[in-house]
């Protein structure tokens, strides 16, 4: 790789590393796996850098590599350790954290872990990475309608968790 390309890639990697790592963390809920996933994504980007840098949206390219790697890894090996619903309820009701933030994090992590991988990916891309439905569909390689339906299902499921459920008056206003 030429020096100019090398510098370009370095800038790209340095500026995207934290975001890719955080997306991977929300997808895997595992610090080590997230680091591996973000690193292997940038490795694949480096190997195709001449093509990536010419792409209209290099970020979309990197996101797609990350999601494909994650989903294919998930297909190869399903996770076996998922927090049980009863554990979640105990976490929320049993011993509330004074600040409340830790409880919310735990519940959300467990709620995310209970989603099928594609639904979880849609939630992370749409509601954390703030991608549009079209961008999310392009990243996942599916139709916009599929993104909408997966998001709808995921939200319906997340709403059943106490920390994310709307307050009663908000339910009645619907």
């Amino acid at each position: 790789m030429h020096t100019a390309d090398e510098l370009d890639f370095h800038d790209f990697a340095a500026s995207r590393w934290a975001r890719l790592f955080r997306i991977a963390l929300l997808l895997t809920d595992d610090q080590g796996l997230a680091e591996d996933l973000a690193q292997s994504t940038l490795t694949a980007v480096y190997a195709s850098w001449s093509r990536v840098r010419r792409a209209d949206d290099p970020d979309a390219y990197a996101r797609r590599i990350l999601l494909n790697s994650h989903l294919s890894r998930f297909r190869r090996k399903r996770p076996r350790e998922i927090p049980l619903a009863s554990d979640l309820e105990a976490t929320v009701v049993g011993a509330p954290d004074p600040a409340g933030a830790v409880d919310t994090r735990l519940v959300l992590r467990a709620a995310l872990a209970s989603l099928p991988p594609r639904q979880r990916a849609v939630v992370v891309l749409r509601y954390w990475a703030d991608l549009t439905e079209e961008q999310t569909a392009a990243t996942l390689g599916c139709a916009v309608g599929t993104v909408k339906s997966q998001a709808s299902k995921a939200i319906a499921k997340l709403r059943t968790h106490p920390a994310l459920a709307p307050a009663p008056e908000e339910v009645y206003d619907r």
């Binding site: 929300l26 690193q39 490795t43 299902k153 994310l164």
Partner: protein, 261 residues
């Protein structure tokens, strides 16, 4: 999803992601592995090109002259085999359409809105629930986008409601659906405090996925907004079939219906 939910979810996701310590960028390892990967790909590309050249040379030296006339031959004696369900699916009923039923006095059905052609079959991509002739826009479902993807698609807590534009809208029930029933399962059973129900696992033509749809009525006036449903796949003898999918979440689903008052 309304703006309240958007903000709340974004904030909650941020609370998970933001405090995480971002490790230092392993730049040297990325460059080393990336360069190795690129070299390997180029080497493979070179091998492919060499193989193509060699094959062309072999073909050129062994080519035989074209016959003057070509006479038609009879079709091959062995016809292309028709797709057959896997042995584990032999006893499952094949339905020509998605299921429908009655729940709390209303008729519900599944309306497939998007198919995808693959191989010699049509695969369901996306469906909607239709209640009393009205599509509920909030209740879309999607089949697995990849027929080979055996990822769990069991969904608990999908509410079946009338069209929200209908003033008398009320909660009808909860649906469990998916297309990855385990091998050997012929029924899905759900048991809740108020009773039990089951529905057959079935196949769709030209589709080797094992579908299940089971709708459970919601009893108005339930003392608690939350109630638990226990799910189990059963084999032909009524024995519980172990399911990795049902172990996710501990077989116990907390269902909170949305009640419109």
């Amino acid at each position: 999803m309304n703006a309240f939910d958007d903000n709340r979810l974004h904030h909650a996701l941020d609370e998970v992601a933001s405090p995480a310590q971002v490790p230092p960028l392993p730049y040297q390892a990325i460059v080393r592995d990336g360069a190795r990967r690129r070299r390997r790909r180029r080497a493979l590309g070179g091998l492919t090109a060499c193989a193509a050249v060699a094959a062309a040379a072999v073909l050129a030296t062994t080519a035989w002259s074209r016959p003057e006339a070509v006479s038609p031959t009879a079709p091959a004696a062995t016809a292309r085999p028709a797709p057959r369900p896997s042995p584990s699916a032999v006893d499952l009923p094949v339905r020509s359409a998605m299921p429908s039923g009655e729940l709390n006095g209303s008729h519900w059905s599944i309306h497939v809105v998007d198919y995808r052609e693959q191989g010699d079959g049509l695969y369901c991509e996306e469906w909607k629930i239709v209640v009393d002739g009205h599509e509920n826009p909030d209740n879309n479902g999607s089949c697995s986008s990849d027929p080979n993807d055996r990822g769990g698609t069991l969904n608990a807590g999908v509410t079946i409601q009338r069209d929200p534009r209908v003033a008398s809208s009320a909660l009808l029930g909860v649906m469990f659906e998916g297309d990855v029933a385990p091998v050997g399962a012929v029924r899905l059973r759900v048991t809740w405090a108020g009773g039990s129900a089951s529905a057959p696992v079935f196949l769709l033509p030209h589709d080797d996925r094992r579908y299940f749809f089971l709708a459970v009525p919601y009893a108005p006036g339930h003392p608690d907004a939350y109630y638990n449903a226990r799910l189990a796949f059963l084999d032909a003898r009524g024995r519980v079939v172990p399911s990795e999918m049902l172990q996710v979440g501990g077989q116990q689903y907390s269902v909170k219906p949305f009640v419109k008052q």
